[in-house]
Amino acid sequence: MVTAPVLGVRLTVSEYDRSIRAASRLRAGSYSRRRFLGAAGALVGGALLGGCGAEEAGKAPRSDADVLRELLRHELTAGAAVIGVAGSELIARQDALHARRLAGRAGTDLSGRPATAVHLPAALIRKQDAVFAYVEALPRLADPALRVLVMQLAASEAEHLAALRLEAGDEPVPDAFAGFTEGPPP
């Protein structure tokens, strides 16, 4: 299962009063990341009104290189070859390039990190987790160029999710926010 640390609220709230209530829940730490960022502005509102949220509280700022090394760990996991899915070789090659780019910017050696091939369900979970990680990391990066790089990687991983689902005959885009939404709000 994709881990679900406390972070956000869901995205599809349309009325402002609902978004304000969601912001309150965000500050109270009652939403999971799977529900995420919601009412988008509610996250912003939560951040503006209540600081950076429970997850960030009490933690020392980390360097960009630290953040990239953490993302590299997710990328290497997500970059495992997918067993029995046409087109997955290209995705694996793109993942290898992601890892090289991250390692280069983080000043980390990539040697000795083989990825074990996985079946599609596990691959989708790992890819989704990578998208979560990239998106979550964005405000923690000080260098604007690195934020752009991470957005490009996030977009690529989201594309991999859709492409793998297409190859498997599944619905490629099951939600509007690349996995950051789920069912109706509580």
């Binding site: 956000g8 995205l11 599809t12 709230v13 349309s14 402002y16 978004s19 912001a23 995420f36 960022l37 009412a39 988008a40 502005g41 509610a42 996250l43 912003v44 509102g45 951040a47 503006l48 950076c52 290209l90 995705i91 793109q94 390039l97 992601h98 780019r101 998208v131 990239y134 998106v135 979550e136 964005l138 405000p139 604007p144 160029a145 934020r147 752009v148 790089l149 991470v150 957005m151 490009q152 990687l153 996030a154 977009a155 690529s156 991983e157 989201a158 594309e159 991999h160 999710l161 859709a162 492409a163 297409l166 490629p172 885009v173 939600d175 509007a176 926010f177 690349a178 996995g179 950051f180």
Partner: protein
């Protein structure tokens, strides 16, 4: 750069503040919703029509995200994209053939992604970037479907910049 990409880039580039950039993003998502709806009413049929209608709904959800962020920043949203805006940004969409319509939609999705990444570079309210990125990632998934429908290969990019 296509006409669509140039117009969208100009809209983002011209914005000097967070609220200006987010307003540009709102406009593009609203226009994308109109574009998918127009494609569903005209050039697309069958499963592709259904898909366009669903993606139009996604774009409306994306637009609500930016509207809500602007609300959180206490910026009133006074204007919304409408049919004339669609005619300027994606002229002739309703009369286009299937392939041209899909290509124009892909151009618009790519332009939006490039704009979102401009926000990644310039936005000062960094916490809002997470929300921007979720919209961008949703757009990237739309792109995969559009590229597949157009027969473009590969359908994914190593670094998706929207360009």
């Amino acid at each position: 750069m296509s006409g669509i990409a140039a117009q969208v880039a100009e809209r983002f580039s011209a914005a000097r503040t967070d609220s200006g950039m987010l307003t540009a993003a709102l406009f593009v998502e609203e226009t994308a919703a109109l574009a998918y709806a127009a494609a569903a009413e005209g050039p697309l049929a069958g499963d592709e029509r259904d898909l366009a209608l669903r993606f139009a709904g996604h774009e409306r959800e994306h637009a609500r995200v930016f509207e809500t962020i602007l609300f959180a920043l206490t910026v009133p949203v006074r204007e919304h994209a409408a049919e004339p805006d669609l005619r300027v940004l994606v002229p002739g969409l309703r009369r286009a053939g299937r392939e041209e319509a899909l290509a124009r939609l892909a151009e618009l999705e790519g332009a939006a992604i490039a704009g979102h990444q401009m926000l990644g570079r310039r936005l000062r309210a960094l916490d809002a970037l997470r929300s921007v990125a979720t919209v961008m990632a949703g757009g990237a998934q739309h792109l995969v479907v559009l590229r597949r429908a157009l027969g473009d290969e590969p359908v994914t990019r190593t670094l998706e910049s929207g360009c």
